[in-house]
Symmetry: C2
Subunit: 302 residues, 2 copies
């Protein structure tokens, strides 16, 4: 699994930072979180295939979070997409998706469906779920928890050999949940498999002031992608517009025991984001401010 930061900018893009869009690649599938203007070109400049995007999760209906969608949908059409595309977001997303499809003249040859989510709604995918939580912004806004399903426990090779299981097909059978014969009788999976392991958890805050929904969502997350529009010296401004500071994000990451923190939605006023990075790292050292197109492998934290 890897995460690619296609756009990391604030409400208005800059020459360095496109408006926000984050791609999570899980095997052959790509999930997109937000889709600011220019996302299709950012995808072209990345290693993420835009034809593999199956679902788009919008956090809210401010233009910098969705205006890349009409162009992306039309380019997918141009390249002959036939697989359906699902767009999720807060109340009004189904209607807005329809409005985007009616903008200008084009002949859509695949299905695009918009879906309204309310906090707590879970969208199931292959081996994972995405669950919406309530964010706190100037307009109705959601954040999202991507949660990989529980993984089976580790297979204890030494224990299996000690029980007289012969290496080969019997090992595979045990991993798949079947019983096999050992030296002293039947060997069951429970005898050789460790406890199930937690799946990877990635949380994306969207645009939000600190709030309970986010606080709960990011407990024990492996990756927290958090907005940090400004530094804490502008905390009043951040609150006025329903945003967070780098300090807010770092303090939350520390409290919630997340493994790594990535800051996005960096205001155009920070051509050099060092002040934000220093502020956050002083509180939570495992903080990164990605540049556009930076990509990171996502692993389950130990």
């Amino acid at each position: 699994m890897d995460i690619t930061f296609l756009g990391t900018g604030g409400s208005v893009p800059t020459t360095k930072r496109s408006t926000v869009a984050i791609a999570l690649r899980i095997g052959p599938e790509v999930i997109l979180f937000d889709c600011g203007e220019g996302t299709q070109r950012q995808l072209m400049a990345s290693s993420v295939s835009f034809m593999r995007i199956s679902r788009v999760f919008l956090t809210h209906h401010h233009g910098d979070h969705f205006l890349g969608l009409p162009g992306l949908i039309q380019s997918m059409n141009f390249y002959g997409r036939s697989a359906p595309l699902d767009v999720y977001g807060p109340s009004g997303t189904a209607k807005m998706t329809k409005a985007m499809l009616e903008l200008g003249i084009f002949d859509l040859r695949y299905e695009v469906d918009g879906h309204d989510l309310t906090p707590g709604d879970e969208v199931r995918g292959e081996g994972h779920s995405v669950t919406a939580f309530q964010a706190e912004h100037t307009v109705p806004a959601l954040g999202y928890v991507f949660q990989e399903d529980q993984r089976p426990g580790r297979f204890d090779v030494e224990r299996a050999l000690a029980l007289g299981v012969v290496e080969g097909p019997s090992f595979a059978r045990l991993v798949e949940g079947g019983n096999v014969k050992g030296r002293g009788g039947i060997v069951t999976p429970a005898m050789v498999m460790g406890p199930p392991r937690k799946g990877i958890r990635v949380v994306y805050s969207g645009d939000t002031a600190p709030c309970q929904g986010l606080e709960r969502a990011c407990q024990g997350a492996d990756v927290l992608v958090h907005e940090a529009t400004v530094a804490s010296e502008l905390e009043d401004k951040a609150r006025e517009f329903g945003h967070s500071t780098a300090r807010d994000a770092a303090e939350l990451a520390k409290r919630a025991g997340v493994a790594s923190l990535y800051l996005v939605h960096i205001s155009g006023r920070y051509e050099d984001p060092s002040p934000l990075l220093e502020e956050a790292r002083g509180i939570f050292p495992s903080t990164i401010i990605p540049n556009d197109l930076d990509s990171f492998v996502v692993r389950r934290a130990l």
Copy 2:
């Protein structure tokens, strides 16, 4: 006057070419022709101030020609624009502009007005006009003629001195249309001013197959900005989709006696546009294929 090619790509952008947008800067004013997705970022990377854009002329309602407009409008709003913005285009532009303003949630604090044009309609500006002509595409489409007003004739200093006009305020008076005293009596402007000179003429084809409207429009143009989606070996494909080849553009430029030809709307299949350039220059040597963000001074051809 100068022209900046903000986007020069075809229907789908590439990492090198953004979708089409062309800025014409006339003194303090900027007129934008088409506004593909990403235009606001291209403007930021150029020397053209996006707050100075007074009017946007859309050629047609395919996404690659207008999807940058919602984001541009919203960023102008974010930066405190108060001056109205006029958007012109073929039938349906007023309705589409309204739909763009209703997309997502934002609080517009200046006026944005959409206007439907029909071929022949002229929009007056300060010292110039923009006139729409009928293009031939798969959907209703216009091209545009930017025509600078006639300039006054040249003032003949030697003739004025020979007539006994004293250098100084009398010269200015003559240029402004007043009579002055000379050695042998009254000297009128007609005696010292050359014939009025033509203003600069810039023609933009929009997306079009060769057609009469365009043919007439570009007679004697100083600058012809012409789409050249593909090379002539793909002429059938070009016609099928209402487009032109590089050869079409060059032959028209030659027939119409234009001074310089700029090719845009280059299909993504040409990572290297040399085949198009060679084809066009073989017919019309003064051909340029601009890269995104290239800027050129526009002068009246001699």
